[in-house]
């Protein structure tokens, strides 16, 4: 009996070591979506979702997990990496954060107009919801090349429409991202081709303001 106990203990120790090692290793994974890949049609097609979420976002996450090994960012959370890194780590971390925020703000049954504190703030700054939407779409049209347009919150709760190139995210400017629209061509080319403006005006139909209100901190 005694000779059996020792190997059993060492087996448990081995499990313990493996388990703590894998917990210490921060690896990012594709977030589960609260809707099916065809749920946002016709605004975003199933084919675009399969590629944008299943290939592009997955690609950024896979790249990020490989790139951070052995760096100062190995144990860091995503926002810290985006704020502190540059080069390829920044690009892949930024795109992981951006796409997570992007995909999780949509719904097939969205709340189409904000209410409460966020709505009041929008009215205060833009006069009405349509003026805000128009300025946001214009900002998206004004991003030359690949990038994002963001609605972001400043330290004192004010709202800003922020244009970012490539993997940019307003967290690097000490603002909290609330709503992010992807103007990389991969986000809309299969469904809208060169007509980015149409894509931007259609997106309002699936943006769930419940999510944006939660991000604003109501």
């Amino acid at each position: 009996m005694k000779t059996l106990r020792i190997p059993r203990l060492s087996v448990w120790l081995l499990f313990f070591v493996i388990a703590t090692n894998s917990m210490a290793q921060a690896t990012f994974s594709l977030p589960k979506l609260p809707y099916a890949n065809n749920a946002l049609e016709p605004v975003i097609s199933e084919q675009t979702m399969n590629l944008h979420y299943g290939k592009h976002l997955q690609g950024y996450i896979t790249n990020l997990n490989k790139l951070i090994v052995g760096t100062a960012f190995e144990q860091a959370d995503l926002i810290s990496i985006v704020k502190q890194s540059d080069g390829a780590i920044f690009n892949n971390a930024g795109q992981t954060l951006n796409h997570n925020l992007y995909f999780l703000q949509f719904s097939a049954t969205p709340k189409l107009v904000p209410t409460g504190v966020l709505f009041d703030r929008i009215i205060q700054q833009w006069g009405n919801f349509d003026s805000f939407k128009m300025e946001f779409e214009n900002a998206g049209m004004g991003v030359f090349g690949s990038g994002w347009v963001w609605l972001a919150k400043t330290d004192n709760g004010e709202l800003r429409i922020v244009k970012e190139l490539n993997a940019g995210n307003p967290v690097t400017k000490n603002m909290e991202p609330l709503l992010g629209v992807d103007v990389w061509e991969h986000a809309y080319y299969l469904d809208y081709q060169n007509v980015r403006a149409k894509h931007l005006s259609e997106l309002w139909k699936i943006i769930d303001w419940n999510v944006i209100e939660q991000r604003y901190g109501e």
């Binding site: 590629l51 290939k55 592009h56 690609g59 390829a88 690009n91 030359f144 090349g145 690949s146 990038g147 190139l165 490539n166 993997a167 990389w184 061509e185 991969h186 080319y189 299969l190 081709q193 060169n194």
Partner: protein
Amino acid sequence: MKFELPQLPYAKNALEPIISEKTLEFHYGKHHQAYVTNLNNLIPGTQFENADLETIIKESDGGIFNNAAQVWNHTFYFEQFSPNGDNEPTGALLDAINESFGSFDVFKSTFVTAGVTTFGSGWAWLVKNAQGKLEIVKESNAGNPMTKGLIPIFTFDVWEHAYYLDYQNRRPDHLAELWKIVDWKIVEKRF
């Protein structure tokens, strides 16, 4: 000066299956045309109203630069292809490629890597420097190496609109296929 969309030296379906007719209809017929239209709308009343395209690219910035450079870049891009491509460089250009890169195959793989690693929208360029030597340069968005005193010889467009309908997220596959339609006789003339 009014800029115009240049004629393509081949039919829109001539580069299939490497570049589909649908992609050419958008890339040439919509994107390239839009850059021409935008440029013509932007320059009246500016110092560039009567300037040639290369002067505008070298001296402007913002919207005028973006549209002028994209007009030039796309004209240069489309005219280097041919349905009778798939040849290889010869003569002085081949010698210069061998001198700078070791071999044509090494050049091709280095060039594809430059295209694949351009993050976001942009262009990979083969250029001739002031010493007459070849180099590979990556540019973002509308970037053109003439603004750095380099002479463009050859280019691949890595904006997603260049390949998304045909290759979706597979940029490396698109670039690997493009060699089949490059007409090196045209590229040699630029060198």
